[in-house]
């Protein structure tokens, strides 16, 4: 009898489980018009943020319902119009004129130049929670000669203005102007009833589960193919991969370690692209060990970058001899730092490394906690040990890392292994290397004070002629190759995996998730 009871309990449980399976299966494979993805998974995502003014990442998803004036193309090679049909930059780089597209907000109101002026004023005011305030600081005024023209006047040229504008999603004045600026960030509008001009309209946010947007039939680029997009949230890429394999989602970012498991799967397509983040070993210039250029050069010769790229990155990274790897910005004839441990030893001897530090352990701090980077640092540790440099990796979480490197206890981070965005706009690197960007002003966390590097960066940033600009950034490359403020390592590739059922799907591993022109209105999914 007892066993009988147990058996019936088990039977009920089993029936429940199978019954619910049967019921839920059609739900997973429901009407083909829904595209579900982990659009905020990985380094380019920012789950739980709905406020584009506060966004440091997550643009891939935000541009499904918001739109900026201008946007990078999908190849990340040039900036093109989005809400601006066309735009012009004056020769002195002080006047930007935008001709606006005829667009409507999701509530039917017309999008006008007044919205542009409103959004820029809001983003310039850090009380709104905007992280763009400083970057938009050079905007002196926004003029609106008519409803379809917006003219931005700058007080001084800003080389990265267009790049910054790609991250500025246009916001509706009629919906937001009534909310006091200080209360804007805390307002529920962002995650409840936001309206944009994009191909999809915000529908709902199931807290920490997913965000749903539905097709905007009035989109000026045509009604979207898919009826809705769903952005599912995952704690980590591994959980998203499980959902991808289980057929619950059609797309996610994946860590490079996991890519090989998709290589032969016919149901999936691997999307590969450069991370546009240059990885480097940073030398804290406040630490006397690194004053001598020969010591920094020794790092470049002692680390066998090709071997690491081949064996650990599976070949999916490009060695960086300066802060750039894009041909456009890399001049001929710079030092290639081919692996040469003997030369490294000789350089260290010349610099008197034995007296300077010898084999005392030196911490190398990193915020990368992936197994891949753990292995990379172990390889570096072994290679540097060969020439007499004893590094000890220390991986911490991002907040800990930031609190250390922006602090002034320099002994805690004599060396770092880090990355910084070096594209698509090459001026992104300025904040990490220009002397004027030493904290608290910027993110020159290695406190690099190298006149040649700073001069090259200043010249490139101030260059108003487009053709001369490439040459100016080549000078930045030269200066960082010769002075080695960092031992530049490589630019690794990043990956997404999409179901082959997706059609016209565009994605690229852009830093911060772009934004880039992905045309979500054209995405569809085969039944």
């Amino acid at each position: 009898m007892r066993l009988g009871m147990l058996a019936s309990a088990l039977a009920v449980t089993a029936a429940l489980a199978t019954g619910s399976t049967m019921l839920a299966l059609p739900a997973v494979a429901q009407d083909g018009a829904t595209i579900t993805g982990g659009f905020d998974v990985g380094p380019g995502g920012l789950q739980g943020n709905f406020n584009p003014l506060a966004a440091t990442a997550g643009f891939t998803w935000l541009v499904t319902y918001f739109e900026p004036l201008v946007i990078w193309n999908a190849e990340l090679t040039r900036i093109e119009g989005a809400l601006a049909e066309s735009f012009e930059v004056s020769d002195d780089q002080l006047t930007y004129t935008f001709k606006l597209a005829e667009a409507k907000w999701h509530d039917g109101e017309a999008f006008t130049s007044a919205d542009v002026a409103f959004t820029i004023r809001l983003a310039q005011n850090d009380k709104s929670g905007s992280v763009l305030a400083a970057r938009l600081g050079s905007i002196a005024s926004v003029e609106t000669p008519d409803e379809r023209t917006a003219v931005i006047k700058l007080s001084k040229p800003a080389a990265n203005m267009l790049d910054t504008l790609t991250k500025l999603m246009m916001l509706p004045e009629h919906a937001l102007s009534k909310i006091p600026v200080e209360e804007l960030a805390k307002n529920a509008w962002w995650s409840a009833t936001p309206i944009g001009t994009g191909p999809f309209k915000f529908s709902r946010y199931a807290t920490d589960q997913y965000v749903e947007v539905v097709a905007n039939p009035d989109y000026r680029g045509g009604a979207p193919e898919a009826a809705r997009l769903i952005n599912r949230y995952f704690k980590d890429p591994a959980a998203a991969i499980a959902a991808l394999r289980a057929g619950e989602i059609q797309f996610t970012y994946v860590d490079s370690n996991d890519v090989s498991t998709f290589a032969d799967a016919a149901a999936f397509e691997v999307i590969e692209g450069p991370s546009l983040v240059v990885n480097y070993v940073g030398f804290n210039q406040e630490v006397p060990l690194w004053k001598d250029l020969r010591v920094r050069q020794a790092f470049m010769y002692a680390i066998n970058r090709d071997a690491i790229i081949q064996s650990l990155y599976g070949g999916a990274a490009e060695a960086a001899n300066c802060v750039y790897t894009v041909d456009q910005f890399v001049p001929e004839g710079i030092e290639a730092f081919a692996y040469d441990p003997e030369k490294a030893k000789a350089l260290l001897d010349e610099a008197g490394w034995a007296e300077l530090n010898g084999d005392k352990p030196i911490t190398i701090l990193t915020y990368y906690t992936s197994p891949l980077v753990t292995n990379v640092l172990a390889a570096m540790q072994a290679m540097l040990a060969q020439v007499g440099i004893n590094i000890v990796p220390r991986a911490v979480d991002t907040p800990t890392y930031n609190s250390i490197v922006y602090g002034e206890t320099y002994g805690d981070f004599p060396l770092i292994f880090a990355g910084l965005q070096n594209g698509p706009d090459p001026s992104n690197i300025n904040i990490g290397l220009n002397e004027s960007q030493i904290p608290p002003a910027g993110a020159n966390i290695m406190r690099v004070q190298m006149p040649e590097v700073t001069a090259a960066l200043d010249a490139a940033l101030g260059e108003t002629d487009a053709a001369a600009r490439d040459v100016a950034f080549q000078e930045v490359c030269k200066a960082t190759n010769a002075n080695l403020p960092w031992a530049t390592m490589w630019v690794a590739n990043r990956y997404g995996v999409a179901s082959t059922k997706l059609e016209n799907f565009v994605w690229t591993p852009a830093p911060a998730g772009g934004p880039f022109q992905a045309h979500p209105e054209k995405w569809s999914v085969a039944q």
């Binding site: 009898m1 619910s20 399976t21 406020n51 929670g129 805390k186 499980a242 991002t398 907040p399 930031n402």
Partner: protein, 319 residues
């Protein structure tokens, strides 16, 4: 009884206050603040902007000032706003998460109690037979398997390989709510959560049953010709359950910890996931609020267990 209850509640309130101070201090000793968590090291942002944000959030105030500012609001029921999810109140976030966590814990504990006690009884009455030995081995495996391992294995086998259960979440996106859909999502995390407790309850029940089975009054009952079923249920199990009840009460606190693991692996939108997220992003108000609520829940459950125990066992007095 009333005096005892009030006394316990008062101690509980004191414990909560101490807990809040402890968590506050621990948090501030942890390197990095919410603003540090907001900076993506790959995509640099000016520190001036971050410093302005820090000032606005009051993070540059002296610690005691910050603590009392928080406490004075908290006692009035205002737990403040999340720092990382600007537009959401801590109380709102916690309220949304409470239901899913309670559901998960209730389901897990129910499975653990039903299966654990049944298996324990079977083990005791079929002592040293094949069923008993197999159950004991299973229990040993269950107790020694860490929750995150069981969870990952379960996920791999039942979701990725067999496609029996969803890989995570609580409801299928973009479909109307259905109870079966909820149960479908619930079953795997609940079973995984229950594994450890089932084994524990089974071991306790078995040991306690064996002890009681040797008592004189059981032999007397049998001698009087009471049917074996009633001997087990009425005379043995009822007496054997006392220590098991205590165990269940005291493991509820532990179950909260287990739920945090399970929620993270299965993306179950409960308190655990909220807390893990908040710790990762140093979202101070959320961590303080969530810990306080979990602490209060554990304290209340413990008081209830003590009171229940006194009711169940008349030998215990709570004067």
């Amino acid at each position: 009884m009333l005096r005892y209850t009030l006394h316990r509640l008062l101690i509980g309130a004191g414990m909560l206050l101490a807990l809040s101070v402890l968590i506050f201090i621990l948090l501030r000793l942890t390197p990095g603040d919410p603003i540090d968590a907001y900076i993506d090291p790959n995509v640099a942002i000016s520190q001036e902007e971050m410093a302005a944000l820090r000032t606005r959030l009051g993070l540059d105030q002296p610690l005691p000032v910050q603590y009392f500012a928080w406490l004075s609001q908290a006692v009035q029921g205002n737990l403040g706003y999340s720092i990382q999810r600007f537009d959401q109140t801590v109380a709102g976030l916690i309220a949304q998460r409470m239901g899913p966590t309670l559901l998960l814990m209730a389901a897990g504990l129910t499975i653990a109690i039903v299966v654990g006690i049944t298996a324990g009884v079977i083990g005791a009455i079929r002592r040293n037979t094949l069923p008993d030995l197999s159950l004991s081995v299973l229990a040993l495996v269950g107790i020694s398997s860490p929750a995150f391992l069981t969870a990952l294995l379960g996920l791999y086998v039942f979701s990725v390989r067999l496609h029996w259960t969803p890989s995570g979440g609580m409801l299928t996106p973009a479909t109307p709510f259905s109870l079966l859909d909820l149960l479908h999502h619930l079953i795997l995390p609940a079973i995984v959560l229950s594994v450890g407790y089932t084994s524990l309850i089974m071991r306790y029940t078995r040991a306690s049953m064996l002890e009681v089975l040797n008592q004189d009054y059981v032999r007397t009952a049998r001698a009087k010709g009471v049917k074996e079923f009633w001997v087990i249920v009425k005379h043995t199990l009822r007496n054997a359950l006392l220590p098991v009840v205590t165990l269940i009460g005291s493991t509820i606190g532990l179950a909260v910890g287990g739920a945090i693991f399970i929620e993270t692996v299965f993306n179950w939108p409960g308190m655990g996931l909220l807390l893990v997220d908040a710790v990762g992003t140093r979202d101070y108000p959320v961590i303080m609020g969530a810990t306080l609520v979990i602490g209060a829940a554990v304290i209340v459950v413990n008081i209830l267990t003590d009171l229940t125990y006194a009711v169940v066992d008349p030998r215990i007095k709570v004067a």
